[in-house]
Symmetry: C2
DNA sequence: TTGTACGCGTTATCAC
DNA sequence: GTGATAACGCGTACAA
């Protein structure tokens, strides 16, 4: 079968047929020996294994995939333009997910979903072309063009970070609302009465949740919405750092200056804190700052930045568990929403309100 | 063919045969109409396209791949534990590469290469199992187990960031040595005469190059190696931030204190700069700092951190071009080494030497 | 220009 | 326990 077997040097990939011939058995026996080792005589099995090793045999994934009608590739859909806060955590997420997947024999393919139709089409081709077996979505929207969507391809989907459970997509999220609420409550406890909220894209799930969390804390603390000023929130994508910079302008224009700032991503907080200090405000003397994400770099800001740390590794593992569960049909609807709590890390960017 | 065609609702994937039947042509004609539109009558072609659209037909990638003996997936091998400085730039690299690949009809699969044999085996199965068509390697070593390596699988490989051209792997790198040399020269020009170099893993390509660059600048400036102290350089992996923290200890223990610090990654510089200021040293008053990578966050450090910016997007594009060139055999050996220059970004962390 | 027939490498179904 | 054989969905000689 292998026409190059006599060349010896750069032999092209060994086939199952080559292994069978070398081991002196039928090709189907080789297949079994590799897939169901129990259902084949031990003696022949070892002979087959030896032959396979000698030839450096590796099963052809596409042939197998075609035959069994399944691939073993999972696709993760990343936001095309780095999502306003997520770029810091993407590597951790990918690594966590990939590690979990590999243990179960799956591969990870990545796709970027931006505003161009071409990228949506590409993703859908992956989904409908049988290339992928399941989807982890890390973006705020599902790709859809010509009425086709990954769900329509019959693919299991799990959403990470964004709660899409009301769209029927099992989601692994953190407790955005409670986490921000608790952080705000802590600020109130420290005597703060006026706040600046640096928003993510308006309407975005995270922004909705986090904004609500701030309001809940204000309400519980006996403060009205008037205590809250808002910056950012543009619909258009913007780099987190830029949002923070603009927030400095907004801040300095306010008649009554807030004493505490709640940023919805570390990037925003980092650029804001840097520029606001250049503008002559002391942190935390004049101004306390807390943000969301938990990037490692926050510890080394000046002053060290308080942040709400998202457990991205755990969330990655949970998303994989959910997805593989759906694939194996172990669970059909699963728990639709899995919440993994974030943790407030208090650092020196937060202090008592100026009296 | 499609047994579910009468269900209408959740129809399983339409096949080429379905399209052929609906268009009233033979299955092979459909195949041609999609692949070589020129070689089929316009009238029938439009009929076929209409049928395909109506059925939501998407070609099965595995069947095609099996038939043509090629996949259209590229694998990128990432360092399993975040490489000492690279974690900041991985998202940009992935996005740049993915974008370039999609335009040419390829997909991107990711693999992590850490110290465990399982991950090497996984990568090699991908390579030998026909799953991938080419490899972009972002790690300092090539996976190899049982004497198998991706090159042995006949796969085109391109290395990014690391120069592996002497191992026969076309590489896209930046001018580490010159960039560091120029930065060091600038420090010398500013009157600095003693330096601390915060090293990456000893023996690592980047560290070798960058260290050499420092020495070249010292030599050109009439300084001896005695002008240089070294911190870091552990063989074991360590988080960049930790290396910077340890460098603070090393620095304070030196009898003659350097007035300038050259860090081989932004992470190191960021944690070092933060802690050294807490220890009572002024930047750049007592100490100038420059680092390597060009993370956006450097601009918002206190003081803003000078850094050598690597053109990661360009490097990603170049790597893809090289790889696809090798796949298409347009170029056989290609230029073995492509250098894309980095750019020194001067910020306030650098100043004249204390007199 | 279009249709027929075969094969890509593997797994699953059946006999033996 | 093992072997022959028919698919999986598509591309491509070749014949019509």
């Amino acid at each position: 079968m292998n026409k190059n077997k006599d060349v010896g040097e750069e032999q092209s990939a060994a086939l199952m047929a080559d292994v069978a011939r070398l081991a002196g058995v039928a090709i189907s026996t080789v297949s079994r020996a590799l897939a169901n080792p129990g259902r084949v005589n031990e003696k022949t099995r070892t002979r087959i294994n030896a032959a396979a090793k000698q030839l450096g045999y590796t099963p052809n994934a596409m042939a197998r995939g075609l035959r069994v009608g399944k691939s073993n590739t999972i696709m993760i859909i990343l936001p095309g333009s780095p999502y306003y806060g997520a770029s810091q955590i993407i590597p951790q997420v990918l690594q966590s997910i990939n590690k979990s997947l590999i243990q179960e024999g799956y591969n990870l393919m990545i796709a970027n979903l931006d505003r161009e139709e071409a990228s949506e089409r590409h993703i859908l081709n992956l989904a409908f072309g049988g290339t992928v077996r399941g989807v982890i979505i890390f973006s705020s929207k599902l790709p859809e063009v010509d009425g086709r969507s990954p769900a329509g391809a019959g693919l299991p989907i799990v959403s990470m970070l964004f709660d899409m459970s009301n769209a029927g997509v099992p989601s692994v999220v953190t407790n955005d609302r409670e986490a921000i609420r608790d952080a705000t409550t802590e600020l109130i406890r420290l005597g703060h009465r006026r706040f600046l909220y640096i928003a993510g894209p308006r309407g975005n799930y995270h922004d909705v949740e986090r904004y609500a969390g701030v309001l809940e804390a204000l309400g519980a603390g006996g403060l009205s919405e008037d205590a809250l000023s808002i910056s950012g929130g543009d619909l258009e994508y913007q780099h987190g750092f830029e949002t923070g910079i603009r927030a400095v302008d907004d801040f300095t224009k306010l008649d009554v200056r807030p004493t505490a700032v709640i940023a919805t991503s570390d990037d925003m907080a980092i650029s804001f804190m840097s520029r606001i200090q250049h503008a002559g405000f002391a942190v935390p003397g004049d101004l306390s700052i807390v943000s969301f994400d938990g990037s490692p770099v926050c510890e080394f800001c000046s002053p060290p930045l308080s942040t709400i740390k998202q457990p991205v590794e755990e969330m990655g593992r949970a998303a994989v568990d959910l997805l593989l569960g759906a694939i194996d049909q172990r669970q059909e609807a699963a728990k639709v929403r899995t919440v993994i709590p974030s943790k407030l890390i208090l650092r020196e960017s937060i202090g008592s309100a100026k009296s």
